[in-house]
């Protein structure tokens, strides 16, 4: 356009920090030393399949400390790889980090189960089931935050879903009614959040916290006043049956873990890719994301910001309600006080870790599901470790994840900002 000597700003070489390779090297050393050199010599048996499976893969038996040492060495190699890339000013690719994480986990399992066995299918299967409420809560959170409404009330939505699923399912003796009630109830809660955030322009974080407190109070009251004395009638819904998918459930290793489950889990498998598709491939999703990034710009092209936000938040509630139902009728059956136990907040962390993308969030949710089952299983297998510390594992993992990874993420630009028109 203009005859200029130099038409753009000069560039500077990108500096990649050595934080990642250093952390990796430290972890590699820790793993190698703690699980390898100071590890336990007893044999560990990695069980890939259950006896009744279609195809049986033999167990992999190996000395526990050998696992530790081998993994330690491999991790060091990966750390070196990251170091070399950092030297060349390139960031560590995602797959290296993922493999690093997986191998660390394998070494940890090997150490915990020394002299015992690692029931892989059992662990994976349970990790998936435990991840379902978190993943669905996270999907609901993504739906809300992508249009710019911060949703701290996921915890309340899960609790509402759990409560209504159990109680309605019990009273009507029909689990599907319970499922629907859960979704409707959580949707109503979302409508309140949406109304307060969009119409009354209240600080969204405060509304979320208040709604959580409110739902906890209401469910506690109803539990104490009603459910605890009338349990047989009102709080005994049972659970959905386990429905193996023919064919898929015969796949070795993954089959029994992923495809012998309840309908709540299967619905989750469908919802995650569906959300991704809608958000990134359709007109609906483009408009939603526009509203979350720059509501004024969206308004000027004729998109109704308030209505878009309202519907996405409400439908997000429907999904979270399903997650709540998974807590009761998709898992243990009856409702207990405060049974969401912070999973709504873990779901929130998952949304951030997953960078507001359905697939990444689902992976993060799986990580937490895994940390929860690890807590249960480690206690059985290695009772020496203080239970109190194991109880903390999912929460500490969340902390580390949020602290370590949050720095670089970009939320939808208008997230949390109320939109006011003339």
């Amino acid at each position: 356009m203009s005859a200029a000597t130099n038409d753009s700003f000069s560039r500077v070489d990108e500096r990649v920090s050595y934080k990642t390779p250093i952390v990796m090297a430290v972890f590699a050393a820790l793993v190698g030393v703690a699980f390898g050199v100071f590890g336990k010599p007893e044999a560990v048996s990695f069980q890939w399949s259950n006896p009744e499976d279609f195809i049986h893969i033999p167990d992999f038996v190996v000395a526990s400390n050998l696992v530790g040492m081998v993994v330690g060495v491999v991790l060091l190699v990966l750390a070196a790889l990251a170091f070399v890339r950092a030297r060349a000013a390139r960031t560590t690719p995602m797959w290296v980090t993922l493999i690093f994480g997986l191998l660390t986990v394998v070494a940890l399992l090997g150490w915990l189960a020394a002299g015992n066995s690692v029931p892989f299918a059992f662990i994976l299967g349970n990790a998936v089931v435990l991840a379902v409420p978190i993943a669905l809560g996270a999907m609901g959170g993504i739906m809300s935050e992508r249009v710019g409404v911060v949703n701290i009330a996921i915890e309340g939505q899960l609790l509402t879903g759990a409560f209504l699923a159990a109680v309605v399912g019990s009273l009507t003796d029909n689990l599907y009614f319970g499922l629907i009630a859960a979704m409707v109830g959580a949707a109503l809660l979302s409508m309140v959040l949406a109304a307060f955030a969009i119409v009354y322009l209240v600080d969204q974080i405060i509304v979320g916290v208040v709604l959580n407190v409110l739902i906890l109070g209401i469910t506690n009251f109803l539990y104490a006043q009603w459910l605890s004395s009338d349990g047989q009638n009102s709080n005994f819904p049972g659970t959905f049956e386990i429905m193996p998918i023919p064919g898929l459930s015969s796949i070795p290793i993954l089959g029994p873990a992923l495809f012998e489950s309840r309908i709540t889990t299967y619905l989750t498998y469908l919802i995650i890719p569906a959300l991704w598709f809608i958000l990134f491939k359709t007109k609906l999703g483009l408009r939603a994301r526009a509203v979350g990034e720059h509501p004024l710009a969206a308004d000027t092209v004729g998109i109704n910001v308030a209505r878009t936000r309202f519907w996405w938040v409400t439908l997000g509630g429907v999904v979270a309600g399903l997650g709540g139902a998974a807590l009761t009728i998709g898992s243990v059956g009856a409702f207990g006080r405060g049974m969401s136990g912070g999973q709504g907040f873990i779901a929130l962390a998952v949304v951030i870790l997953g960078r507001w993308h359905p697939f990444s969030a689902a992976a993060a949710a799986l990580l937490f599901g895994f940390s929860i089952i690890l807590r249960v299983w480690a206690n059985q297998v290695s009772p020496g470790i203080p239970t109190d510390f194991i109880t903390m594992v999912p929460y500490v993992v969340t902390l580390i994840a949020v602290i370590g990874f949050v720095g670089r993420v970009r939320a939808p630009a208008a997230d949390g900002q109320p939109y006011v028109k003339g």
């Binding site: 203009s2 000069s10 994301r289 092209v301 004729g302």
Partner: protein
Amino acid sequence: MKLELRGITKRFGSLVANDHIDLVVEPGEIHSLLGENGAGKSTLMNVLYGLYIADEGDILLDNVVQKFKGPGDAMAAGIGMVHQHFMLIPVFTVAENVVLGNEPTGALGILDLDSARKRVKEISDRFGFDIDPDAMVEDLPVGAQQRVEIIKALARDAKVLVLDEPTAVLTPQETDELMGIMKGLAKAGTSIVFITHKLREVQAVADRITVIRLGAVVGDAKPTDSAEKLATMMVGRAVDLGVKKKPPVLGSTGLSVKGLTVVGDRNTKVVDDVSFEVRGGEVLAIAGVQGNGQSELAEALVGLMHATAGTIMLGDLDITGSSVREVIDAGVGYIPEDRQKDGLVADFTIAENLMLNKSFGPPWAKGVQIDFANRDRLADVLIDQFDVRTPGRETLAKQLSGGNQQKVVVARELGRDLNLFIASQPTRGVDVGSIEFIHERIIATRDAGKPVVIISTELDEVTGLADRIAVMYRGRIVGIVDATTSRETLGRMMAGATV
């Protein structure tokens, strides 16, 4: 298409932003809406565009009354708007931005981005815009972003194109090109409404001019009318467009910047090896089109941004890498570019705002406690000295007009002993009366022997206030010239040509 606004009235509470405004734009005409900041031009356009609903009055297109319930209706009727602050989603591509709200879709509502790309290319080629449909908007330079805004409007077959202060972010050459584009569109039959407060542009391109003041139409004018007449109509009283000042009386070197480099978000040198000196008693103006590193330079000088290389010396004191507080304590006064964001706390009172950067010791504080007696006394003095129009010192800052808010910021900074005064866009969004006042205070500071640095994108302000002018382009100083340099030369420098 003929556009007519009849008796448009819009109120915000007790404020009447538009007062029975009439406006007629013939097809193929470039009609300029002229008025100073806060006159109500943008409100009127937002009514036209359906963002606001008028309290009274009608909009007619080709003599048919229109009822717009929102921008969608206005766009469907053929009205396109190029906003002053771009309505683009930074993380979307050009194609996505252009089709937003009007997306071509396939089955199941799946986006058809291919046809979106084709449409962008087609319009871009037709007018010579040179825009890549897949570029991410946040990576584009500002001039290109504006062209995307224009493509957005044209892609919807706009028959009336409204341009709201479009030249704020353009070099003089880019402005000329935009004028060429406007004339081309008008010749092809598009009616154009061109909103501005810059007399020069109006005289260059408008076919007819409507002048607005304080929400009401003052009258029509012709581009051949004199600048003084237009300015008087805009402001309502005789306006002296020049700034009077004596020749500078130079003291010793106050500010000395050598080789200053600042690296920005995208690993580019937003300030690139900048060196200059300012002596006591003179005004150095940093000119250039918005987005060429001036803002970052100012922030680096006061310690808000981290300098990667170079030194900043204030007299004998090295303030490179100093914290903001240290810089303030060294006697640097700073008027930030965005007073609402960086200069004031809207929910604090005027008194509280006047001590914003002074809470660390006397006279505004006594140890750990605020010295309320002193604070109130000093606040009253400053309000009086700096002509802040307000019921009192306990008024909240957000209740003041833009000009008065700026005067509070100026009062705070000039109300203490300074060794250096830096003002970034000191009169942006400020009414003419306040502009005059602020300019006077800047010259007074210079005459008191202090070094003054002004950063401004308004060439008139630069040539009026400065003793010397440094022009920035893409982070570098293209040259430092005398204030008597011609506008043409300055314009070429602002586009990167070295002297």
